[in-house]
Symmetry: C2
Subunit: 348 residues, 2 copies
C-alpha cells in the first residue's frame, strides 16, 4: 500500500515539471504488507555439473508457488555461470512456506556445503511497499514484481528529473534513506569454499533489477538496440563494476532471461545489482556520462518511435531494512555482496 | 500506519460483542513505516563485573538517541543477572544510525567475545506497524513503544474475546500469520561461550512485552496485586517456561524496571517473551487455567475499582518477518532464543 505520509522532506520534482516521455509505475489492486523478490541460484563449476538439470527441474515443480517467477542466467565476475530462479510474492507467509516446503526450497536447505561440487546462493529482498519504486517505458507489458496477480501498472508523471526515483519511494517523504554504514571493501576475500555463509548488507542498501526487452523489435529498432543502446548500457554497467568502491556497487550481475521450456536465451535481459545507498545510484545517474548516454539515447528513440517503440525498459528498486541477509553455499568469494558485506556469518 | 486492508480473513469478534472492561490501544499521529524495539543487554557473571557500570553509563549517554528507552533487569534461566536497555524508534534510519554511532552501540560492536568475562546480547524487533498490536488497561499511562513522541493511545473495543489480539493486528485481515517452521528444541546446547552468534527465529515468530505497573497502588490494591495478581501472573509464566516445547515458548524473561537515576527497582515489571506463533499464544490464553485465573482476576478488580484502579497492565506484541535475527556475545547457551533457534550463525 502507498502510505499517505505527512511529508517532512521536500519532493525533488521541479515546479511545473512535465516529463519528456510517458512512464508507468507499479500499484496494487489491494493493500500489501511486504513485497518479496527471491533470488535462488546455482553457481556452476567450470567443468559443469548434472545438478543444473535438477535445479531447473525443481524450479519448474515448485508447489505452493510464487505469484510470478522467471529463469535467468548470468556469467559472474569470476567467470562462473549461474542459473537463477527469481520469484515474487505479495504474501510474505506464502513465501516463507515455499522456502520450507517447495522442492526447490528443500533442495537448497539440504545442500551440504562441504560435499557439493557446485555453489548455490539465495538472496531474499523483502520490504514494505513504501520501500519499493518501479518504472516502465510501456504500459502494456508487466515485469518483475509487476507480473504478480494483483499488481498493475499506473501512469506516472514522477519521472524525467533527477530525484524522480527517490520521489517514487513513498517513504522518501519522511526518510532520507541514508546508509548507516560506510561502503568499504573487505580487506581479505571471504573464506567461502565448502561453507554456508550469511552476508549482511547495511540498513538502506539498495537493490535494483533493471530490465530490457527487445523480443518484438525488428529492423531499425532491433538494429538500434543491439548496436547502440545495448553497448551504452553495458558501458555503464562496466563502469559501475570497475569503480565499485567509489560508485557504491556491492554486486552487479547482468542476467539474460531463459525460456522456461526450451531454456534458450530470450531477448530479455536485466541487471540485478546492489548499491550501498540510493544516493550512490543517484550520483552515478546525475554525474556520469555513461548514464547520460543511456538516458539520452532511450528518450530520443522513445520520441522518434512513440507508441511504436518496441524496445521496452523498466526497473524495480528496493531499499532494504537493516536485517536483510543473503546466503552463499560453497560459492567463490566474489559472489554477490561477499566482497563488501559488513557482516559475514557461518551457518552452523 | 494502519493499512486499509481488504479483509480476506473473517474477524474473530463475535457479533454484537461489548467488552466487559474498557481498553486502549496505540496509534500514531502520523504514518510510520517501521517500528523498532531494540533490546541491548549485558549478562553478568556470578562473580560480578565492573562492566555493568560502564554499560549503565553508556546507556545514559546514548547520542542521536531513541524516541524512548527504559532500563530493565532480569534474572534468567541460568540464574544470571541481565541489565537491559530497551529502546524504541519510529524512524528505522535513526535506529540504524544509533547502533552505529551511539556510545552504547559502539561499545557493543567492539566487544571481543573471546576476551570478555561477561555476556552481551542484542535483540532487535522491527516490523511494519500492521504487525504490531497493543493494549492497555488505562488511557492516562503510556508504555513501551507508546512512550515515543508521536504515539498516542486510542480507545478500542477490539478486546475481551478470544481472538481480539489477532484482530488488533491490521495484517491479520489478510494473513493468518502461521509459522513457517515447526517449534523444535535444538538437540544439543549451542556452543556459545567466547563467540558472537546470530540466532534466527522463523517467519511469524511472535514477540511480546507484557507489563504491570503498580507504582501508585496503596492499601487494598497494593495488597491485592502483591498477594493475588502477581502470584497468578508468575504461575502463568512458570507454566510457559516449564512447558516451552508444547506452548511454543522460545524465550521468556521476567524483567523489572530500574529507576534510571538511582538504579533501584521500580514497581513496574514486564514479561519479554518470544513464541513460535500467534496461535501458540492464543492456545495458552484460551485453554490454560493459569491464563484464565490472571484474566478473571484482572477483570474483577477492574470492575471493582473502575477508574480508581491503580494497577495498570498493558502489552505490545510484534509478529516478526522472516529475516529477524538476534545476537549473543559470549552468553550462556540458554540465553534468549538460542535453545530453539532454527538457525544459528557464527559472526566472523
Amino acid at each position: 500500500m502507498t502510505a499517505p505520509y505527512v511529508r517532512t522532506i521536500p519532493e525533488r520534482r521541479p515546479e511545473g515539471h512535465v516529463p519528456k516521455a510517458p512512464r508507468w509505475s507499479l500499484a496494487f489492486e489491494a493493500p500489501v504488507s511486504l513485497v518479496t523478490a527471491d533470488y535462488l541460484a546455482i553457481q556452476l563449476p567450470t567443468d559443469g555439473t548434472d545438478e543444473a538439470e535438477l535445479f531447473l527441474e525443481l524450479a519448474r515443480q515448485s508447489s505452493d508457488g510464487p505469484d510470478a517467477w522467471e529463469l535467468l542466467t548470468c556469467t559472474d565476475e569470476a567467470g562462473a555461470v549461474n542459473l537463477v530462479q527469481v520469484s515474487y510474492w505479495l504474501d510474505p507467509s506464502a513465501h516463507a512456506r515455499w522456502l520450507r516446503s517447495s522442492k526447490l526450497g528443500r533442495w537448497y536447505a539440504g545442500l551440504n556445503p562441504a560435499a557439493i561440487t557446485f555453489g548455490a546462493w539465495h538472496e531474499t529482498v523483502q520490504v514494505p511497499p513504501d520501500r519499493l519504486e518501479t518504472i516502465a517505458s510501456k504500459p502494456g507489458h508487466v515485469f518483475g514484481l509487476g507480473r504478480a496477480p494483483g499488481a498493475l501498472m499506473r501512469h506516472t508523471t514522477t519521472n524525467g528529473y533527477y530525484g524522480a526515483a527517490r520521489d517514487r519511494f513513498p517513504v522518501s517523504a519522511v526518510d532520507p534513506l541514508e546508509p548507516a554504514e560506510p561502503h568499504v571493501r573487505r580487506t581479505r576475500p571471504v573464506n567461502s569454499a565448502k561453507r554456508r555463509l550469511r552476508a549482511e548488507c547495511g540498513h538502506n542498501t539498495v537493490v535494483i533489477r533493471s530490465g530490457q526487452l527487445w523480443e518484438s523489435a525488428t529492423g531499425d529498432q532491433l538494429d538500434d538496440y543491439v548496436n547502440e543502446l545495448q553497448p551504452k548500457l553495458l558501458a555503464g554497467m562496466r563502469h559501475l563494476v570497475d569503480h565499485a568502491d567509489s560508485e557504491g556497487t556491492l554486486s552487479l550481475r547482468i542476467t539474460t532471461n531463459l525460456d522456461k521450456e526450451t531454456l534458450q536465451p530470450r531477448r530479455e535481459t536485466s541487471v540485478y545489482a546492489h548499491f550501498a545507498s540510493l544516493e550512490h545510484l543517484e550520483h552515478w545517474a546525475k554525474t556520469h556520462q555513461t548514464h547520460a548516454r543511456i538516458y539520452a539515447h532511450a528518450i530520443r528513440k522513445q520520441q522518434e518511435y512513440g507508441d511504436d517503440r518496441s524496445v521496452v525498459t523498466w526497473h524495480e528498486v528496493f531499499v532494504l531494512p537493516r536485517t536483510a541477509a543473503f546466503e552463499y553455499v560453497n560459492c567463490h568469494p566474489g559472489t554477490g555482496i561477499l566482497p563488501f558485506a559488513p557482516t559475514v556469518m557461518g551457518v552452523e
